[in-house]
Subunit: 187 residues, 4 copies
DNA sequence: TAATAATCGAGACGGTACGTCTTGTCTTCGT
DNA sequence: ACGAAGACAAGACGTACCGTCTCGATTATTA
């Protein structure tokens, strides 16, 4: 066992960087966010940022992971269709309006250009936990629902794809139709 | 009416740029591809590139659009499930191995950071035409299949999402399961 | 023969950089002068500075060489002693007050740390030409005056050394004494 | 009167720093010597270095002052010319080959950029003591030799200037000529 | 024999210059 | 008028060192 020596990491600096990234994402967007202005906004030296994160993607994923899970929690509804439906509407809003959702999209985007970010996104697998929570509610009425991996993809894939390729959420009506068909297929 | 005077645009230069982009995408990837090295690789002045395209995304979309549609065409199979299934396998390969597929993913990625690219991607809507072709084949046996927009999303969304978030295609077995459930839901 | 192609070097940018260095040397001194603030002061991109000069020493030597020769020119005096004496006083002032003289000292200083600068300083040999001009005037009365290299060193060496090690010029009285002794030794 | 309490200064740390500076000067040169690598080389914390010295120049002057005086001591020769001559050859070697001599040149160089270092160099006045020792030997035969300040400058100035501006010592032949002329002037 | 206090090595901190890179524009000459 | 070549201003990149700070641990002196 080695006792760490030297000055300990400043939790204040860490939090300032995470907050700065949150703010900048909203204010200027992912593309215009640079390691330089993150450091300046956080009131932190640039090397301090590089000491703990290798790029803006890594900071962003740390900044938004917890938020995402919390924000996607939904109350159980009476009916399976309402459960799925409500969740999809919630998710559509998350991905097109809320900062952590926009951050997640930016990260998926970056992942297509950078293998390191791809690995981070793959590991974070942000949507799986809240989606599985919802799926578990409808599982009793859906005996043919496939394994989690496939079921999650079936539920959120169409919506996520639509958002990523058009920038807009699917119409509520279409989401309802989608949920209905899936439930039918899983029955 | 103005008859253009002076030296006309060089078709040779245009083609050299498109070829350079194709090559560079494979050799160095989207991120490392710059307007500078595109121009150098094409043996063309940088201003010539900027004169006709506004950025690498625009060049790329011009370079790969036609290819995509052609490469995703599939032969009709005997059974609906085999039609969908074969197409999905083909699409998985396209998105993870073939250059136009990788280019499309890169463009979707860039679209998350750049509204102008998002617009290009939205307009190109690369996957819809070949997907609709396939859907039309199974439509007779799928009376409850929703409108094209939703149906396309339901079919390819789970796969595309999986590729974009993990970098790998879905397992063939999972694709089969997915097609089966959808057909059930559409029946 | 190769005709140079592309946009030619901007003489305006070159002059702006040389002027900026002159100004900054006076305003903030050699140590605080950086490639960054030279570029900013000149209203020029940093790469433009690096394209033509490798460091501030190289810019400075280009900026002050011509000035130096011109500023050290002295009128012939009636007497040999007055010729040497007047020149030494002039040189003391040059080295302790005038910008090109301060620049030259800074360059000699830098030369002790950087072999490349040392080479530049060696080649410029700023003091030799004006000093030889003066020596030529007293040569008729100084038959034993040694070769230029040694004579220049004997005349200006004591003063330059004094300035470099104390920052101040030698007292006029001491300069007079020095010139007198040298003339005696050369007679 | 206050007797200092607390842990006393570590003489071991002080010596380690001085040794590290000596080594680094030879190994990497003055320019590449940083407070950081001095501390690392000495196996000492950076604040410990800053606690006792304000910069590398200050350390260097402490590290080499004593050496210089000792190393420049020369045996009395029979003849005045041989006394001066031998000393000048010795000094040329000192300034171009021996570490303390190189350190002294580096300090004179730094002094042109930094007033604080200039003050240190001015106070150390490294060459005066050994030079005066030699001058005293020839004073009996040199009734017109001026005051120490001027005489020292006259003797070593030409050589030091030559070394500082060219990096090389003067030719032995030229040194001999120089000494001869000075003695003539002082007679 | 404690308590006190200044030192020590280690290393993170905010700051800033470094020299390189790419961006998109411009200028020049040749086609 | 368009082509290539390449210089231009701008500014982010990631690294290095600066001098300061905050640690826990050590080492004398003082009480």
């Amino acid at each position: 066992m080695t006792t760490p020596t030297g000055r300990p990491r400043s939790e204040q600096a860490r939090q300032a960087v995470l907050d700065a990234v949150d703010d900048l994402l909203v204010e200027v967007g992912y593309a215009a966010m640079t390691m330089k202005n993150i450091a300046e906004r956080a009131g932190v030296g640039r090397p301090t940022v590089y000491r703990w994160w290798s790029g803006k993607a890594e900071i962003l994923i740390e900044a938004c992971t917890e938020d995402a899970i919390r924000e996607l929690a939904t109350e159980p509804q009476g009916q399976p269709r309402e459960d799925l439906d409500g969740y999809l509407v919630r998710l559509g809003h998350f991905l097109t309006v809320e900062p952590p959702g926009l951050a997640y999209r930016a990260l998926i985007g970056e992942a297509q250009h950078d293998a390191k970010v791809a690995e981070l996104v793959r590991k974070a697998d942000l949507l799986a936990p809240p989606t599985i929570t919802v799926l578990d509610r409808v599982r009793p009425q859906s005996p043919r629902m496939p394994a989690d991996g496939v079921a999650v993809a079936q539920l959120v894939g169409p919506l996520l794809t639509h958002v990523l390729t058009t920038g807009a959420p699917m119409a509520d009506e279409d989401l309802r139709r989608h949920a209905e068909i899936l439930l039918e297929g899983w029955r």
